[in-house]
């Protein structure tokens, strides 16, 4: 019926849309990776502290055994 006009040039908005998608997705993925790394670091730190505590606990119990041995 009516002569078809060319569609309007809205490609700028299309680019903006996809750019937004990638930027937000990238920010989210990066935040996941950073948080994952932090948790891993926390884990290793805590495990080290736990080991040190165990060693200290073992050392603390040793001198008592030597003293009782001497008395006898």
């Amino acid at each position: 019926m009516f002569p078809l006009d060319a569609p309007p040039d809205t490609s700028a908005y299309m680019i903006a849309g996809y750019a937004v998608f990638f930027i937000i997705a990238a920010i989210y993925i990066v935040s996941l990776l950073v948080r994952w790394r932090n948790i891993n670091q926390d884990m290793t730190t805590l495990e080290t502290i736990e080991k040190e505590n165990k060693l200290k606990a073992e050392k603390a119990s040793k001198p008592k055994k030597q003293k009782t041995a001497k008395k006898k």
Binding site: L4, P7, P8, D9, T10, S11, Y13, M14, A16, G17, Y18, V20, F21, I24, A25, Y28, L32, R35, W36, I39, N40, D42, M43, L46, E47, I49, E50, N53
Partner: protein, 232 residues
Amino acid sequence: MQSKPSALKILDVASVLALAVAIYLALIYAPEEATMGQVQRVFYFHIATAWVGMLGFVAAAVAGIAYLRTQNPKWDIAEVAAVEISAVFFFITIVLGSIWARPIWNTWWTWDPRLTTAAITELIYVAYFMLREGVEDPDRRARFGAVYTLIGSLSVPITFFSIRLFRTIHPVVIGSADPSATGTFAMVPGMQVAFFFALFAFTVIFIDLFWNRIRMGQLAAKVEQLKLNLMH
């Protein structure tokens, strides 16, 4: 922490590939729409991200109810993962919806039911995280999270219907009465391929992100437990 299961590694790769194909289909394969021009291509990802948002929404609701019934922390971890992913993807949906609306209707925001409900859901998610932030006891935090998830997941559908039924503010339409005035357009087969593949690809992406985020939550829970043990 055990190393990443190989199924998950494969899923990671599959997600990236699926996304790449979806982008190709949306940007190159699908034909240009007659009345709106190139911006219509945003629609494929707008709907697909909304779909992921809804998957997360439902997953969170299920996890919340499951936690209240079983008190098992794994459901709490799943719930947080679901809410987080849904929050990110609904945000993308809203921004893309805004970008799509601007050249079509000459406005950045339309108070249509779907967009408005998505915005309200975002606010509920923000409130959810603020609630959790403010509670120190992990058990109580999980319970409160589950209760609020339940309240929110019931409220949101009711909100959607009440806006649709009772708020008749029409979007601003500048220009002639063409089909794009209501944001509808006829989907030719090329577009349908892009549309449905985008939904499929983003479903894969959702599962991948969800699984990864749950693993992270499990590790975080172990760390928190270890911290509590060592503080004594």
